[in-house]
Amino acid sequence: MSASRFRISSRLSAASALLPAFLVMGVVYIGSTSWTVWMSLTSSRMLPSNAFVGLRQYEILFSNDRWLTSVHNLVVFGLMFVLASLAVGFLLAVAIDQKVRAEDTLRSVFLYPYAMSFVVTGLVWQWLLNPTHGIQKLVRGKPDTVIYCLVIAGVWHAAGLVMAIMLAGLRGIDEDIWKAARVDGLPAWRVYVSIVVPMLGASFATAGVLLSTSVVRLYDLSVSMTNGGPGISSEVPAKFVMDHLFERANIGLATAAATTMLITVVSVVAPYMYWRVRKAGVR
């Protein structure tokens, strides 16, 4: 085989290997997204239709009680879940980083919930907070507190992940900082607040973005733990979309909700990606 023929056949092979990925990009990333966005601008109900209605579906969406409750829940859940997971995960990482005994055991204990599915998490916590047998006997669950139950379950599931990310960050910090701080007579907590936390900026950003995207995706946990109830008090946007697609046959409204979710995610992720690319570019 001549050299040039060999090169061409190898280039073709490389292109053929990327065929599935290009197909996925075309059909799923570009095709599906555009179709969903387009559908949200039409009057589609049970079957897709191409009757353009402008932003009518979005007007209906943002006057829909269930959607507004979903969004409200997502904001409450999101803020509390992200902040609590970051705080618990960071504290655990700091505690484990103090050269404690049984470090490996502790790490496994804090991280194992992350290995289990949201369905399992939801069902376990549903049982733990069961109104007649479980802890909720003490807490007395009401519709306006149910979202906090989801937060507890979520933090239990995700704090270990934050711990793992933070611990990796902490282990990457130069030991000399501690020596320098000791020479200066700084108390340990001051070093953490003024030096270590700012140095862990990248770890916080990574963990924050991971947690935030899982907030927008929140579905399994709500379905398994409360199925959106009592009433609509623990509905979330992802569930709104699924219910309107498959049970209520309202494609226009469902895709409008999905598009709104997309815009939310992009507005969180885009600055983060930009920041990472810039950082990589500068270096």
Binding site: F6, S10, S13, A14, A15, A17, L18, P20, A21, V28, Y29, S32, T33, W35, M39, P48, L92, A95, K99, V100, R107, S108, V109, L111, Y112, P113, A115, M116, S117, F118, V119, V120, V124, W125, W127, L128, H133, I135, W156, L161, A164, I165, A168, R171, E175, T206, V209, T213, V216, D220, V223, S224, V241, M242, L245, A257, A258, M261, V265, V269
Partner: protein, 295 residues
């Protein structure tokens, strides 16, 4: 991902109050994290009488394995009382081909992106990394239509393709980063010796990528086993995965709920990821770290 070496060996004997506080904090949080697993386990070993009377955290007075047997072979989903084993075997049927295919396609894509100049590769990679963050809800409806249009509908093949599609960004990133860290001379030498694209992939790159293959298997096995929404939408009624069946068993029961059977079924569903997790140790953390750097 492992950091610098930390001091080992016998430590100086000093237990200050701060040290006690530290251990107290760690102990209490560890108990909080373990409590659900403990409660799940003891509940699954009690009879319903005991659950009704007793405390949720109490140890079982008389151990019984009956809830586990019932959960496995005769728990009901609506009128269908065949136990969670149906879902278990469905999940296995979904898991094996999905893990295999998604790793092959992902590693091949990662390999092609790291050593070969193909038009549009940068765009492709950027698109993949962005999509990893986007909720499934954006893609689900069009994909349902596409699969029913090409005649696959909801089936085992559909769900395998779906898992491959949604696993692609992470798998590609994992292997691309690994291949990019290998010395390029390796690749060049193979080219000079006349090896073609797929030969280099199969004979040189994949054998070297064994650690990444292990990480990928861990990630995909836990991820696909734990999936709920994709299985629900794309697998079809005949192939519903274990997570979906578990949810149906627990949440769609009429009449009095058998909490012990519910918890036994939950334990059974959590078993495989837990075995993978505790069996793989630090590999799991490596997988998370590799998955966490996406973007």
């Amino acid at each position: 991902m492992s950091g610098p070496v930390t001091p080992r060996g016998p430590r100086p004997a000093r237990t200050s109050p701060a040290r006690w506080g530290l251990y107290a904090f760690l102990l209490i949080t560890a108990l909080f994290f373990l409590a659900p697993l403990y409660v799940m386990l003891v509940t699954s070993l009690k009879s319903m009488d005991e659950i009704r009377q007793g405390n949720i955290v109490a140890l079982p007075v008389s151990l019984t394995l009956e809830p586990w047997i019932k959960a496995w072979s005769s728990a009901c989903t609506g009128l269908n009382c065949t136990g969670i084993r149906v879902g278990f075997f469905n999940s296995v049927k979904i898991l094996v081909p999905s893990v295999f295919v998604s790793i092959i396609i992902g590693s091949l894509t990662g390999y092609a992106l790291s050593f070969w100049r193909v038009r549009g590769a940068t765009l492709l990679f950027g698109a993949m990394m962005s999509v990893a963050f986007i909720p499934y809800q954006i893609f689900i409806y069009p994909l349902v239509r596409v699969f029913s249009f090409v005649g696959l509908g909801q089936s085992l093949l559909t769900i395998v393709i779906i898992h491959t599609i949604f696993g692609l960004p992470t798998m590609t990133l994992l292997f691309r980063n690994y291949f990019a860290s290998l010395p390029p001379e390796l690749f060049k030498a193979a080219r000079v010796d006349g090896a073609g694209f797929y030969q280099i992939y199969a004979r040189i790159m994949m054998p070297m990528a064994t650690p990444m293959i292990i990480v990928a298997i861990i990630l995909q096995v836990t991820g696909i086993w734990n999936d709920f929404i994709l299985g629900l939408v794309f697998a079809g009624r005949e192939n519903l995965p274990m997570t979906v069946q578990l949810n149906n068993i627990v949440n769609s029961t009429q009449g009095e709920r058998a909490y012990n059977v519910d918890m036994a079924a939950t334990m059974l569903t959590a078993l495989l990821p837990l075995i993978v997790y505790f069996g793989s140790g630090r590999w799991f953390v490596r997988g998370i770290a590799a998955g966490a750097v996406k973007g």
